[in-house]
């Protein structure tokens, strides 16, 4: 049973209050997803807003075959894909280079959490799009394999394969973090 069903029905009937509740419920997850898929790009929140706008426009056509969360994730992925196709590879290269645009001076202490996030975002950016999406949905969004298969409209076996290959590619890129462990400060061990 979709926990959002009642709100979705009310929003589809025109209730903006119900839709506002849906936005509040899912905004963090969708922003996290767009950030993961755009490697922390500055317009990640803007893309997330676009996803909700599209969801509002398409609510009447939402048949409920999947959960609202699944449907919303699918919309967000399409929004990111459209934006990246529109901007082209040049923009993605430029966006990926932004964290290096202003490197900290040796005298300033490096924010460990920020550095850790940048390592992860750069590692994700190096993946092919289909692998990046799959591993982000699983490990960062917490979706199960069945739900990811519904979002991407691919078999569960394909989802498993993509996630496996993504993690294998990420391992050497995340090696510094693997040595320090998943802690934020990196001072454990």
């Amino acid at each position: 049973m979709d926990p959002d069903r009642a709100l979705v029905e009310a929003a589809a009937a025109g209730s903006r209050e119900a839709f506002d509740d849906l936005v509040r419920r899912h905004q963090v997850a969708i922003v996290a997803l767009t950030r993961a898929l755009t490697s922390g790009a500055a317009d990640a929140e803007d893309l997330a807003q676009e996803a909700f706008v599209r969801a509002w426009k398409s609510l009447r056509s939402f048949r409920g075959d999947s959960s609202f969360r699944t449907w919303l994730h699918r919309i967000a992925i399409n929004v990111v894909r459209t934006a990246q196709t529109r901007h082209g590879r040049w923009t993605r290269m430029f966006t990926a280079a932004e964290p290096d645009a202003d490197p900290p001076s040796p005298e300033e202490p490096l924010d460990a959490a920020l550095a850790r996030r940048q390592v992860i975002e750069r590692a994700l950016a190096s993946l092919p799009e289909e692998l990046r999406v799959a591993v982000a949905l699983r490990d960062m969004q917490g979706l199960d394999y069945r739900e990811i298969a519904a979002v991407l409209d691919v078999p569960i076996g394909t989802v498993e394969s993509r996630i496996f290959r993504a993690r294998r590619r990420l391992k050497p890129l995340l090696a510094p973090l693997l040595q320090t462990g998943p802690s934020v400060t990196g001072q454990e061990r």
């Binding site: 909700f52 490990d139 993690r167 391992k171």
Partner: protein, 118 residues
């Protein structure tokens, strides 16, 4: 658990450790603003000057072209007009000085008159 599984789990744990983003407080307001902006396709769109500017641009271009090509009184007179001016102009006639004769017609008459004199 195999080494492969441990590596897979380690990578998954690192990705899962990314903290949730801080969504700006105005996020919902911006979503609603964009929805309202997209919904303004009725009378609100008519108040958008950019819509009118684009739609009227071809008409404005056509009017400008007509204004350039349309003949006016200040333009060089046609041949029949010059001939008509020559027929009515006689240098000895005082009334001619009072007539509003086009400068070009006077020049033509003067030149043709001097040619006859030779």
């Amino acid at each position: 658990m195999t080494e492969h599984d441990e590596e897979q789990d380690a990578v998954a744990a690192i990705l899962a450790s990314v903290p949730p983003p801080r969504v700006t407080p105005a996020f919902l307001a911006r979503v609603n603003a964009r929805i309202d902006a997209d919904a303004g396709t009725g009378w609100l769109a008519l108040a958008d000057f950019r819509v009118w500017t684009l739609r009227l641009a071809p008409l404005a271009a056509a009017l400008a072209l007509i204004a350039v090509l349309w003949p006016t009184g200040g333009v060089e007179p046609s041949a029949p007009a010059v001939a008509s001016a020559q027929q009515t102009f006689t240098p000895a006639s005082a009334a001619d000085w009072q007539q509003d004769v086009a400068a070009n017609a006077m020049l033509e008459a003067a030149l043709s008159g001097s040619a006859h004199a030779r």
